[in-house]
Each structure stands twice: as C-alpha cells, then as structure tokens.
Chain length 314, copies 2
C-alpha cells in the first residue's frame, strides 16, 4: 500500500489493485503521518535556513529562492534566526544535531569550519552564504558568494570617479562587512586616499544612523560620501543625514551594499547581490548533495555576479 501511495510507478502491483488502493485512500482522506515517515526513512524532507534576522530585507528574497527550488523537490524550509550572535549560532548547531533537517543553508558570522564539521560528520550537507571564494574542502560544506571585496572596490572606484576624496565606510562588527572593508580600503590606498572606517555594532538602521551622526559631529574633515557596508546601514545613514538637514546627494553622497527591494525606491546607489539566485543555487546544491553518493564530492564554492546599481544617492 505504501508502495502505491509513494511511487508513481509500481510494476509489481496490478493496475486494478493500484486504483482500488488509491480510491480508498482518497475516500478516507488519508494523509501519511510526516513524523513517522521521517523516523522510518531517516529523512526529514526539510531544509533549515539559518540567518541572522528575517526582518533584514536581504533575507526574505534568499528564503524565497530557496523555497522555489526546495518545494518542487519535496523539501520544506525551517527558518532559524541567530541575531548574528555567537550563542545564537551555537544554538542553531545543537538544534540541527537533533536531526531536524536534511540540509542547511546558513550565514554564520562567528562559527568556522571546525565548529561546523559536526554537521558534515552527521551527513548533513551545509551551504554557506559567503563573502569570498573558499578553497575546495573534503567535507560536504559548499558555499555560494559574490566577490564582496571586488564589489566594494568597484563601488569605491565609482565614488572616486564622481569626484569624492573623503569617503567614509560604515562597518558592522562581524560578517561580510569585513571583506567589503578590504575592497574599499585597498582602492582608497591605491588612489592615495586614507580609508576612514567607522564601526557600529550590527546590520541595523539604528547602527547606521548612529554612525552617521558621529560622522556629522566631526569638525572640518567631514566626508563627502558615505559607503554603508550594507543597505540597511546605508538607509540608517540616509535618515540621519536628512534629519540633520542635509540633502542627498548634494550635501553628502550615500552608497550601500545588497540592493534590497527598497533601495530602488529610495534611489540608493548600491551593489546588487542576487539574493533570490543565491538561495536557489544553495537549494540546488543541497538537492544534489542529498542524492545517492552526493555527500562524497568535495566542498565547492560557487560564484555569482554582482552589479553596481547607479542611482540618485550618489
């Protein structure tokens, strides 16, 4: 019976038996119990998506990309928010070790491969959202990324080409902000300019606004352009600048990173990260890993292309 219900083809069952079973199941409104299936088949048919915060507008698009590939392959998506904190990330790993998902797509700001290897050892493939290329590894840990350093470098070149000399970057303490800062710093130095970093804690509007206020309090060498290490930071900076009576881009130019959906509406010049495609690619990678023998392949790093979106804020 199980056979008929689960497979579309059943050579060993005569058609009439097959239709009879299907009919009865239909009449009873039979739905197989998912927990029992999970236990018996040792497959949860679930992907976990471990991210800092679903309310950061970068992530819903990623989740959607994931779902779009996962659903047709029969996988559900569980969301786990870490708040970008070490304890949140550790809790995510413990939780995954309880066998809640067959595969994981994750953004870790703090944990490194040694701490993540437990998953691979348990046969749970992981796709990390990274900010740079990673060398192939022996474990079932893959990554998807855009070249964050090069993208930030290109944006910095654009700001310089627009005549800016005093360009500040608003950073966050952890996460992809670091690679972005490297790209920015390298280009600034090459051009004979001094990098000007200001770090507030998180990827939040409040952090961006706070950092901008500190920049504006400076006497004399105020920057003429501010590069937010993420769009959310840049939006906070825009708000703070406007509250201070400055006009964008006349008094101060602002650039961001991510191209979240509202960036377009606000005219924010930014780096486009294809979040939907990153999610979809991550899901495809997991689906392949979970096919027979898929766990043997070495861990790969997949690059997608970024794009500089030139809008009115610069």
């Amino acid at each position: 019976m199980s056979l008929v219900l689960n497979k579309t083809e059943t050579p060993s069952v005569p058609p009439e038996t097959r239709t009879r079973i299907l009919k009865v199941a239909q009449e009873l409104g039979y739905q197989p119990n998912h927990p029992a299936r999970m236990l018996r088949s040792a497959r949860t048919m679930t992907f976990a998506c471990v991210i800092p915060d679903i309310t950061n507008p970068f992530y819903p698009g990623l989740v959607r990309g994931l779902q779009t590939v996962a659903a047709p392959a029969g996988y559900d998506v569980l969301i786990f928010d870490t708040d970008g904190r070490p304890d949140g990330e550790v809790r995510a790993i413990d939780w995954l070790l309880q066998g809640r998902a067959d595969g994981v797509v994750a953004t870790f700001f703090h944990l490194r491969v040694p701490q993540l290897a437990v998953l691979a050892r348990k046969g749970i493939p992981l796709v990390r959202l990274e900010s740079q290329h990673k060398p192939d590894g022996p474990l079932a840990i893959d990554s998807v990324y855009i070249d964050n350093a090069e993208a930030a470098a290109e944006m910095t070149r654009f700001l310089i080409a627009r005549g800016h000399r005093r360009i500040a970057m608003i950073q966050a303490e952890f996460g992809p902000s670091q690679r972005r800062a490297q790209g920015y710093g390298a280009v600034m130095r090459e051009a004979g300019l001094s990098p000007d970093f200001i770090t507030d804690s998180a990827y939040s509007e409040e952090s961006g606004a706070r950092a901008m206020r500190r920049l504006l309090e400076r006497k004399g060498d105020r920057p003429t352009a501010v590069f937010g290490a993420s769009d959310v930071l840049a939006l906070g900076a825009m708000e703070a600048a406007r509250s201070a009576g400055l006009s964008i881009p006349n008094d101060i130019a602002i650039a961001g990173f991510d191209d979240i959906p509202v960036a377009k509406l606000l005219g924010l010049t930014t780096v486009r990260q294809p979040e939907f495609d990153l999610g979809a690619l991550a899901a495809e990678t997991l689906v392949k890993r979970l096919q027979a023998g898929g766990l043997e392949a070495p861990g790969r790093s997949h690059e997608l292309k970024f794009e500089i979106m030139k809008r009115s804020s610069v």
Copy 2:
C-alpha cells in the same frame, strides 16, 4: 534516562545517578533525535506560519513576533508561502494534515471556516490573521486583527480633512483589501463624495504601479490623492507617479496601509498595523491552546490597535 534529560526535576532519581547520566550524555554529545520524539510524543514542537509571501515586508515582522514567543516555549517556526492563491492555500491544508505542526498562524485569502475545520478536528489549533472581528465559534480557531474598516475610514477622513475631494483607492482582488475598501467607501459617501476604486490583481508593487498609471491616463478628473490598500501597492503607486514626473504630495498625495519598515524612510502616510505584536499574540494564543484542555475553549477574536502615521506623502 529520558526522564533526567527531559525534566529539570526528577524526585524519583537520586542526585548522583542524575549527574552521572548528565555527564555521560555530555561526553557523548548526545542529542535526542527529534523525529523520534515527535512520533512518540505526538507533538512536533513546531508552529506553521502560512502566509502569502515572505518577501512582502509586512510578514517578516509578523514571523519575528511569532518566533520571539514560540522559541522560549520550545516551538520552531515553519514558513509556508501560498502566493495568495487558492491552490496554494489548499496545498497548505493538505500539508498541515500530515502532522507537520502542532499549531498554525495563517493568512487565508480564499479558504473559509468550513475548509479550515479539518484542522480543528485533528486537534491542530489555528490563529487567523483577520481584517475584522469574528464572532466566537465552537472550534479551536482564533483570530487576531486590527479593525481594518475603521482604520481605512479614519485615513479617508484624514485625506478629506486635508482638502482632498477626488480620492481613489487602489485595491487588490482578494484579502484584507475588501474591508479596507468598505471603510473608505463608507466615509466617501457620507461626505458626499464618490468612491473611486481601481483594482489590479495582487499586493505587489507592479500592481500598484500599473493601477497608478491607469489613473494618470485619465483625462480631466484625475484624483488628487490615492489610497493604496496596502503599503506595497502605495509604494508602486509612488514610483509610477514619480516616473510620470509628479511630485508627492504637491501634485498627488499618497497613503498606504500596514506601515512596513520602509514606509517611514519614504515618508509614506499610512495605517500602522503592529505586525510584531500580532505575531506574538498569535503565538501566545497557540501556546495556551496547546496546554492541557486548551482546545476546549471557544474560538476567540483578539483586537489590537492601529495608528494613523502622518508623514510627508500627504
């Protein structure tokens, strides 16, 4: 052993045995298998969140509110996107009937109580995100809502008080847009003005922009104010208006509904729905329902307060 691992107090187990068990569990890095627990205890410790689309900025805040209450109570959150379509909603129900969640928070645009009653019959409590008060019912189906008709009425009164006479509303085909349209329509008629509805399909920027373009193509009686039945619709309308070279609010005023996070940044006048609190309240309701005897109580409707956010777009 199970006893020790699961409870914080174990009167029948001597302390030394208890610590010994805990120590060994620690050393082995033992993590209980979640699917097996689910099956044995007939509890998934999961809440499902069934929504049209996680990329609509209204929903991440709702999800966060849900998680914030669910996590400390031991529940995970699964996201299911229906795309606001009837087949998506039907698939959500079938999926829930496989025993994937202990409780559900959902927005249904199409299904009504008769179709949802299967859940209650299976002992799965449901909290609906509604647009109006619902009478108490015998089933374990609760709801949380703000008074959408009254909120839209109040916004319409505000637009009239600002001197607008030709006020159009951009609607979506299904969902809460209907109650909002009622509130708007009633106030317009009371004031001796004619309601002016324009309906495009979905709650998307594209729909909002398309509707706005149709309004702008009109000869003569163009509206001086446009009320989007949701913020996403209003944002699309703003974009279309700007593309047409109009200035907001001088040439045309725009109002929305929801107060998604970007509304503030864009200066959009809108109705604030406390999405985080709605999610948190829904989760609390489910947690209570899942305590002993909780399923017996009649289905209740919980109201939260809206607020008119007056910003620069009007």
